[in-house]
Amino acid sequence: MPASQTTYQVQNSLYVMTPGAYVHLDNTTVRIEIERETRLRVPLHHVGSLVCFGNIMVSPALMHRLADEGKSLILLDSSGRFKARLEGPVSGNILLRQAQYRANENKNGSITIARAIIAGKLRNSRSVLLRGARETQNADESAQLTAAAESLAASLRAVPGSPDLDSLRGTEGEAARRYFSVLGLIVKPAMREHFSLPGRSRRPPRDRLNAVLSFLYSMLMNDCRSALESIGLDPQLGFLHAVRPGRAALALDIQEEFRSILADRFALTLINRSQLTVKDFDQREGGSVLLNDQGRRAVVAAWQERKLEEITHPLLETKVPIGILPFVQARVLARFLRGDLDGYLPFLAKT
């Protein structure tokens, strides 16, 4: 296969997190002012989307320009949860949407895609565990991680035989519990005093590792949603996740195959390298734990850098920046829906 001729550009997201900051357009430069002082200038052509956490002011001129250029403006609440998005009229692909709706109505179509997504998720989760097993010094823990990886392999084998979405979700749920029951073993022993993972807790997260995971999932979800919207798929109509008003079900679907390799592994790296410490978290009355302002900044900065790192895409046989993986996969899905490909193939990390 020839090297891909395509050139990929990482869409740089510009994250603005300081409450009260004013973001506006100065000719072709985006300028961020805090208390009337210019803190940052970024040429507009470097900005793929503008992401605002909480109370940020954006000038109308900048909003119009973002819309004109097909760049999105995303509003998150101060803890990173999705609120709203302003998107230019680039996604007018009605035939693709029709194909998406048809595939969704067709039980066979839905389950085929859902199985592929879960297979991707299980394989990638498994590769995170196997890598953890290889890297640990502790033989007993290595065995625990390997055993869990084996159990994910068994779940993977069961996927093609799952007759419907409910049984598939059951298989997935059980595998996820197994996975999270050992994921904490990849935290280095020296860090475990402050970062243990007693299973997955969300809404709100109740320990520090879960707090990081929740935050990363929310950023990853945004990237997946942007990818889907930019190629004209409807982010709300999913194959695995059920339709629910206000839920970007397809973005959640696409996100599944990336969670472990992009978010989980990344969270563990941040902790193991002490890029995140106890000071980056706030513990609230009643037991919830959240990243504080300083912690969010650290995670966002590292995440932006991480998205620029290149990884080999096994199908395209070419190096692509991690940040565009959701875009590549959204296109693979679109090509399948339009009848160009025989199925949906998730992104599979090398073990």
Partner: protein, 222 residues
């Protein structure tokens, strides 16, 4: 604006097809799939159109063309033909004092095939004939790089070529299907390559193999 007015008028009449953009002829000539991606899927068409439009606009705006006294020059003139179901724009149209009308198409690329340019020009001439109710027997291609102007006779064979191409494009658009990728040299210069994924689709066998091993934990990724 004009296009939408036309669309409304056309769709009122049962059996009257939607108008086709004159630019579709050029896209079709380059690659049928490209034509379908732009005019059927409407994906990223904006990027491509804007890029091309700006390039041409820049050239058309350059001073120094031979402007004869008394000749009215219309730039970016909206064009249409009800009869053929065509809409588009002419880079430049000359309206001479004697009533003669001449479309002039600006070209900037290096290795363009003359026949495709001529067909596009003929489509413009056919629109002008209908709009002004006057024969348009000639057009011209202006090659910006060499500053050469080439007269083209809008003859019967070119006129036939326009309607043949239109029929083929209509058939393709109506089918709702995407033609397969050409997957050759053309893809390297195609701005839709990223979306089209010609290499991935051409490697169907490899894709199938990867797909069949998806649920086997021991099978390698792709």
């Amino acid at each position: 604006m004009l296009a939408s007015v036309y669309t409304t008028a056309a769709s009122d009449k049962v059996g009257t097809p939607d108008p086709i953009a004159i630019s579709a002829l050029q896209h079709w000539a380059y690659c049928p799939r490209q034509c379908a991606l732009i005019h059927q899927e409407q994906s990223f068409a904006d990027n491509l159109h804007t890029a091309r439009g700006q390039a041409v606009h820049h050239l058309v705006d350059q001073p120094g063309e031979a402007i004869k006294a008394g000749v009215k020059i219309e730039r970016s003139l909206p064009l249409w033909s009800e009869r053929l179901g065509l809409v588009g724009k002419a880079d430049l149209v000359e309206i001479h004092p004697d009533g003669a009308i001449l479309p002039v198409e600006y070209k900037h690329g290096r290795k363009r095939q003359a026949r495709h340019d001529d067909i596009q020009l003929a489509a413009q001439a056919l629109c002008l004939e209908e709009m002004f109710d006057r024969p348009v027997p000639h057009g011209a291609i202006y090659h910006a790089s060499s500053h050469r102007r080439r007269e083209v006779a809008i003859d019967a064979s070119l006129r036939a070529a326009v309607s043949e191409a239109l029929t083929a494009i209509r058939t393709m658009l109506a089918s709702g299907r995407l033609p397969p990728p050409v997957n050759d040299r053309r893809c390297r210069e195609c701005s839709l390559a990223e979306l089209c994924q010609p290499e991935l689709i051409a490697e169907r066998e490899r894709f199938k193999r990867a797909l069949s091993g998806l649920f086997d934990p021991d099978s390698e990724a792709a």
